[in-house]
Symmetry: C2
Subunit: 141 residues, 2 copies
Amino acid sequence: MTDFILHERLARGSADLGRHGICRVMLKNQAHFPWILLVPEVAAEVKDLHQLSEEDYLIVCASIRYFSQWMEDHLPIEKINVAAIGNQVPQLHIHIVGRRHDDIAWPGVVWSCNEKQSYADDEWILLQEKLRAAINGNTSC
Amino acid sequence: MTDFILHERLARGSADLGRHGICRVMLKNQAHFPWILLVPEVAAEVKDLHQLSEEDYLIVCASIRYFSQWMEDHLPIEKINVAAIGNQVPQLHIHIVGRRHDDIAWPGVVWSCNEKQSYADDEWILLQEKLRAAINGNTSC
């Protein structure tokens, strides 16, 4: 989509790491939980997942599965929460969030947790590098 | 799966309306939001969406799309929230929740909303009938 513009509330506080399938892949700078946002680069009127074309829906579902598996394989997490909500930011986006039984919001959901913490600089850079490698299909690092 | 047993916390307060693809389809008796639960009838060790086999994953994704579209077409809602969380009930289940700007939890998420309200009896029966028809592929009613 040439007219795609990432919503400023999705861009804020996140790193834009590349593209997978038809999605922009963002990493939130929230040290409490590893948190990926997938933002399909589609027309603004597509606000809910099922409104994607069947082809785009399958591509997005494949990306959700890919990054969920990556998170399970590469990060010290115990559970993955996946959601498309969009009540506050209308641009379609999917959350993939790694959870642990000892995280600050457990067993609640992250969307009602107001505790924010940025990563330490070196952790933040390393996590971005790992995820960028996954986006590029090199998950060995 | 012959050894599938629906978790009692998913069964409680919901109507078990049938099967679509590989999922049990449940309707929560929560009048504040139309709320479908899809429960894939898979082995208990599959706790997150991406842990489904590729084939099962696609079947479940198709059911999510089908019931989301049904909700948009047949119920007075403005937005759909879709999520696989499972922090409190370990059995894999997917929430499909219809939202309105004037609902009790808007714009927050339903999972941190403690307000419960059962449907009036006639509403509850009618909604079950409508959804049962959708499960059986007859979405005209």
